[in-house]
């Protein structure tokens, strides 16, 4: 190696080192530690004496995949993802297309308003939404009672709770997708629309044949980000329903977290790696779905 290159290598690493040190200790290290743990019977009581821990092979993974509660959690998470992602993306896209129109006034007001839920802590969101969805003193049922309808317990019915949380998650995340779609829309050249207009195509045709195809890369980005977030569905049930009633809102991440708090570290690690696998598979799926058209 020439001395110049060696020096360049040193300079490069001197820039990389501060990040790499923290990243190794607090991110890469823990990721590896979790992988190792998933093949052991580590429990909270073993933390001080790591040599008493045994390697149990894939036992934890077998336990996870045979656990009926995990099955329930997986179904709930799948429903949340399958309904929640399209719902959130459609809402975000609609808002962005509306706001991107040249004739819209008060753009900043709309943008800040729609974005407010994104910047609000889940703890505060929970306080408000419990008031909104409460069975007796809730806002929704208060409005329904004006029309003489007795509203149900949106969070206490095992058939409605998951749906309520899906709506809440869409409300909480559509603002972020709106910003992403707005950024994407701004990269589409205006003259494409003008050309389409000259050709006499309608608004809908323009949306269908200009906006949607050119937005594919943005949709991919939005779908990947939302997929990563939604598969880790946790905070909403944690603060709103504690996974109930009757496990109807228990998610995979929540189930794994419960096992962590019971001290079953090996099981937690295996369950979270199963979740990681699902996230990677979903991401691959999005890349296939939104592959650039030839």
């Amino acid at each position: 190696m020439r001395p110049g290159r060696a020096r360049e290598g040193l300079v490069g690493w001197s820039f990389a080192l501060p990040f790499v040190v923290f990243f190794t200790v607090f991110m890469a290290g823990p990721i590896l530690a979790a992988l190792v743990t998933s093949f052991t019977d580590l429990r909270v009581t073993d933390i001080r004496s790591p040599f008493s821990v045994d390697i149990v092979g894939v036992d934890n993974y077998v336990a996870v995949l045979q656990d009926p509660i995990f099955h329930r959690a997986a179904v709930n998470t799948a429903i949340f993802v399958l309904v929640g992602i399209p719902l959130t993306m459609v809402l975000g896209l609609l808002t962005a297309v509306g706001l991107n129109s040249a004739i819209v006034k008060f753009r900043t007001l709309f943008r800040v308003g729609y974005y407010m839920p994104v910047v609000t802590s889940i703890a505060a969101v929970a306080v408000v939404w419990r008031m909104v969805l409460g069975a007796e003193i809730g806002l929704v049922n208060g409005i329904l009672s004006v029309f003489g309808i007795t509203g149900p317990g949106w969070l206490t019915s095992s058939s409605l709770a998951l749906g309520s949380l899906i709506v809440m998650a869409a409300w909480r995340n559509m603002g972020f997708l709106m910003i992403i779609f707005l950024a994407g829309l701004q990269t589409i050249p205006r003259d494409l629309y003008e050309a389409a207009e000259v050709d006499g195509s309608s608004r809908w045709q323009q949306f269908r044949h200009v906006t949607l195809p050119l937005l594919r890369p943005t949709m991919l980005f939005a779908a990947v980000i939302t997929g990563i977030g939604y598969l880790q569905f946790f905070e909403e049930p944690f603060v709103m329903t504690q996974g109930g009633p009757l496990n109807s809102t228990l998610s995979v991440a929540y189930h794994a977290y419960n096992q962590f708090s019971f001290g079953n570290y090996g099981y937690t690690a295996a369950a979270s790696y199963v979740l990681f696998l699902a996230i990677a598979l979903l991401t691959v799926f999005w890349f296939r779905l939104f592959r650039p058209q030839t």
Binding site: G9, G12, F15, A16, P18, F19, F22, F23, V25, F26, M27, P30, A34, I47, T95, G98, I103, V104, K105, F106, L109, V112, G113, Y115, M116, P117, V119, T120, S121, I122, A123, A124, V132, E136, I137, L139, G142, V146, W171, G175, I180, Q186, T187, E197, P217, T218, F221, I228, F234, V239, A253, Y257, Y265, A269, S272, Y273, L275, F276, I279, A280
Partner: protein, 293 residues
């Protein structure tokens, strides 16, 4: 609530719509739709803010009232008198500032190295950082907790902040932005004998303003609203961050005091709204820069 504005003579020059009637009706419908959506989105917040000025008795009433019948500030007074609100606020601000500064420095340095310098291991390092973006937070949660416990950092500010001072997303953002800076500019400085650290601090950093602003917003908000980690790591009341305090008081002994909770939630929202409203213009720019096109 603002009334929908009717765009009078809705033809701005950039809007080449030919027909006057349908164009105006479209503007109407568009604003009506956007306003309807906005009302649905912000109603919970309006509800919360109005609620924070109501008495406990009024908050418990069935059916609920919209406007406070008797405006009271006692909920806000209680935040400071009955709870240590200032302390939670300070904890949140300190941790969020440390996380933001850490990421601005570390991520822009590595972003520069990945974008503009050649060094052995550059590609694998970038791939490794990108891959970890997909790893669920839960994977690292348990090992991180064991690590922080063994370092003796449970219930300290360092324990709350350190795990988040170097995040993969920041590296991605900064690298994507710095790649766009022309090499000629940097080479010219190199010919003049400037070292890489001089070039980084004096040439690259001043050019990355929007990206740094975006990263700062995202990191500050992320830390300010972070919930699960501080919930587990902060074990005594003097280390609580705002979300932890709100969550614990909403399920603990203060359960019945809805007004106090609403006032706390409303007050916690103020700093993030200020930060967001002030910097929101950079935000769309910054997101557009992460290479989504």
């Amino acid at each position: 609530m603002t009334a929908p504005t009717i765009p009078r003579g809705s033809h701005s020059p950039s809007q080449p719509t030919g027909h006057k009637g349908p164009g105006r009706r479209r503007g109407w419908l568009l604003h009506l739709g956007l306003l309807g959506g906005l009302i649905l989105v912000v109603t919970p917040f309006v509800w919360m803010i109005l609620g924070s000025f109501k008495t406990t008795a009024e908050l418990r009433r069935v059916p609920p009232t919209w406007l406070p019948e008797q405006i009271t500030l006692s909920n806000y007074q209680d935040l400071f008198e009955r709870l240590d609100f200032g302390r939670y606020f300070f904890n949140s601000a300190l941790v969020a500032t440390a996380v933001t500064v850490g990421n601005l420095v570390f991520c822009s340095m590595l972003g520069y190295a990945l974008a503009k310098l050649r060094f052995p291991g550059r590609r694998p390092l970038f791939l490794l950082v990108l891959t970890t973006l997909m790893v669920p937070g839960l994977v690292t949660f348990m090992p991180l907790f064991v690590l922080v416990a063994n370092m003796g950092l449970v219930n300290t500010h360092a324990g709350l902040a350190l795990p988040f001072v170097a995040q993969a997303f920041g590296v991605f953002l900064m690298r994507q932005f710095i790649i766009g800076i022309p090499d000629d500019l940097l080479d010219a400085a190199r010919i003049d004998g400037a070292g890489e650290h001089y070039i980084f601090w004096r040439i690259v950093i001043p050019l990355t303003g929007p990206a740094l602003a975006t990263l700062a917003i995202l990191m500050f908000l992320g830390s300010w609203n972070n919930f699960l980690w501080p919930l587990v790591v902060a074990t005594t009341e003097d280390m609580y961050t705002l979300p932890v305090a709100i969550a614990l008081f909403s399920t603990g002994q203060h359960e019945t005091n809805l007004g106090l909770l609403m006032a706390g939630s409303a007050a916690a929202l103020v700093p993030v709204l200020v930060v967001f409203v002030a910097l929101q213009r950079f935000f769309t720019q910054g997101i557009a820069m992460t290479g989504i096109k």
